[in-house]
Symmetry: C2
Subunit: 447 residues, 2 copies
């Protein structure tokens, strides 16, 4: 994995920035804060990739049995419990029209049109569900589980052969699963949802899909080794540093733009890490800061025909992080004689993509708009593990630079309370009053 930074160094906002000149003292302190001082008690994700060979063998054996017994595999989860698996499923199957080893669905929304219509279309006798929620109390996931249990019961299918539960040891869901004889995998308490893809949250579903989980973890370890370095060759740190400097200079938006269909959902994976970890009202000293850099998901070359106009001529509030893959599995030489497009003759389709990627970077650079690229050789398990772990590390370093707690998410609590009040839970009278007030003053116009 490589970081390409040449043109960003000459951006005028950075005033002749050189990555070699990043403060090593500061860097050593931050790297040590994370790896040695363990500045947060939610850093379990750093070690969760050190799984014993034997455990991995057991997961693989289990996965193999599942693939033999079932035709469909459905993940029930939301946010961090779904995004990693969704991203990897897209990269290895959907985007290259490759037949899956087991037909897999990741259900990360509760829209009944989407969810119920899917269940309607599946043969439940041949379907296995993996319920994933760290707390064991995520309403959306429990609601999904409730639907599935009801349907299985209606069809007189024994649930214990069709449900796998992945959650934290000893919570209510864990107990419920044990009591009902469901297969259970646990999630360590010190691994937060958005950092959990390398725990059982991601590893078990990936094994079931037939991905090589050992390679995935070995890629993650490479990214971790690199992230321990004390100089600019630590690419997670250098990336975070560039983003941090940009944010200081008013670049409050970060466009994440893979030039690869297969990596399209890495944007979603990154967007959660970046938004939930860094969007914070307070810093560690308790000062009100309303910090954060808004992640914007884009796809090359497609979004050149949708967003590039805004990127080049719109507000100068964006820094760009591109993602590029060197090798393709499929390619094609353009050599059909179309008289009015001779210029596109005798080049590979991948050459056109690469030229457009290059051109976009150069256009932005020539407009003095900061951008850099992450480059991977090819899409395999090792590189994907490395890429996702690199993104986690970059987020962690950025959090330290911003002096915030990157591992909580207090900002979503109020909305959860309002949901409960709206559903008529006991108490919450103040919230119920606000809801009533809103309903009364509702103003609708239209046709």
């Amino acid at each position: 994995m490589k970081l390409e930074v040449s043109k960003i160094e000459s951006c005028s906002v950075f005033k002749n920035f050189k990555i070699e000149k990043i403060s090593k003292v500061q860097q050593k302190k931050i790297v040590n804060n994370i790896f040695l001082k363990k500045i947060s008690d939610m850093l379990g994700w750093l070690d969760v990739i050190d799984v014993r060979e034997e455990n991995l063998n057991n997961i693989e054996k289990f996965a193999c049995q599942i693939r033999k017994k079932y035709k469909n595999f459905v993940v029930l989860g939301i946010g961090g419990s779904a995004l990693g698996v969704k991203t990897l499923k897209h990269a290895f199957f959907d985007s290259i029209h490759k037949k899956e080893k087991i037909k897999t669905f990741v259900c990360d929304n509760i829209d009944s049109d989407g969810f119920i219509s899917l269940l309607d279309a599946l043969d439940l006798k041949k379907t296995i569900f993996n319920v994933i929620t760290k707390s064991g109390s995520t309403s959306e996931t429990l609601a999904q589980m409730s639907v599935v249990l009801k349907l299985l019961s209606d069809k007189k299918i024994k649930a214990d052969k069709h449900i796998i539960v992945t959650t934290t040891k000893d919570n209510d869901l864990y107990q419920f699963a044990i009591k009902n004889n469901f297969k259970v995998f646990d999630i360590p308490k010190d691994v937060g949802g958005r950092f959990s893809v390398f725990s059982n949250v991601g590893i078990v579903p990936c094994a079931i899909m037939g991905l090589n989980i050992k390679e995935l973890l070995s890629g993650a370890k490479m990214a971790r080794e690199n992230a321990k370095k004390y100089d600019y060759t630590n690419i997670s740190y250098t990336s975070a540093y560039i983003n941090y400097k940009a944010l200081e200079k008013g670049f409050t938006n970060l466009v994440f733009m893979p030039y690869s269909d297969r990596l399209m959902l890495v944007s979603d994976y990154f967007a959660q890490l970046w938004a939930e970890s860094l969007g914070k009202k307070f810093n560690r000293s308790g000062e009100e800061i309303f910090s954060g850099q808004t992640p914007i998901k884009a796809l090359g070359v497609t979004d050149q025909h949708s967003q590039l106009q805004l990127y080049t001529e719109g507000p100068r509030d964006k820094i760009f992080m591109f993602l590029k893959v060197q090798e393709k599995i499929f390619d094609f030489t353009l050599d059909y004689d179309i008289p009015f497009m001779k210029k596109l003759n005798n080049i590979e389709l991948s050459t056109l993509l690469n030229s457009e990627f290059f051109a976009t970077r150069l256009s932005l650079s020539s407009l003095d708009i900061p951008n850099y690229s992450i480059i991977i050789d090819k899409i395999d398990e090792k590189n994907m593990g490395s890429l996702l772990f690199y993104l986690q590390m970059t987020t962690a370093f950025m959090g330290e630079m911003m002096e915030i707690d990157a591992y909580n998410q207090n900002g979503v609590e109020q909305s959860k309370v309002y949901t409960k009040a709206s559903l008529g839970f006991e108490g919450l009278n103040e919230q119920k009053r606000l809801i009533e007030d809103f309903r009364k003053t509702q103003k609708l116009i239209g046709y």
Copy 2:
């Protein structure tokens, strides 16, 4: 279709804003600029929805024949030539797991892994392609066409039975298509790509997919009628006005967030309209303004577990546009007895979704963050036509308020020139020098 604005009126940034008080004089001028004075020569999209019944019947007859003859239908296009059809395909088929009347693929990228692997998987004898490019010179789409023509020729399949071309009359592609006996549909010169879903660009593929195009157009007409009104009940104008006021106050980002799986891609459709139309370096008077409001795509409830933390505690630079559907096709009563989640018992799954939608709105409002909602009764062709046309009108009104030309896209030209230079086209020596310079100074770090 309804616009819900109650809470935005009490946002402190708007200082007791009342939609009834929007200046009618100004509104009349802007509405007339568009509908009567035709301030741009690219306003053909306003009238393209008035297709003669006979023409629609012919398209439907043609579509019906296609469905009888072929198993697969592949759209080749990018940007405005693909987004409308992609959005509607998702709303009516993919997201509710509904069997398509003809298996449809919208190819809007040139990543060879994605595109070539798809063609590899299809039986070309049973496949019809619709090549869509207004200019007839879009490199990505022509490259796709070149691949398809080569494959057909290799397999000794006569191309004229497998290609439909949609382009502007008399350009090179049009001539090429006529010469090769391809079926051709034309696009009016005064309809830009991102405003073209109701022209043959969108209508022909929708008819082939089996959607009711008459209803689609009738919905669009309802939105147009509403947009001619001179007061606040003109919901496109009122929406644009709110966004414009927000932008003036520093809300440079607009989060577009449907609470509906089926409407997920409406975000992509809107994002193109909003970004390409409003991201402009100059206003109509030639002053440098670097204007625009960055569209951010989100999905409820899913992104409550990914982006909401940033929305509530991050930078106060976002206004929110929600999208809500009243009726569901599928629903489910949660009544399986799970001891530790009794609170979720005896409610509909849709009630949970609605409560969360309500809660998100209320949380944002209680934090003084501006937000409003578009509400449609149900997802059918009429409502989808109405919704997409409403979004076009809102964009057009916003452009007038900002005093910019919403119909050009000069900002992407430079990138096209660099692509040509990078591909080795003749001339372009200055650009080639810049590319060489870049290649020489390329700085890569990593592992």
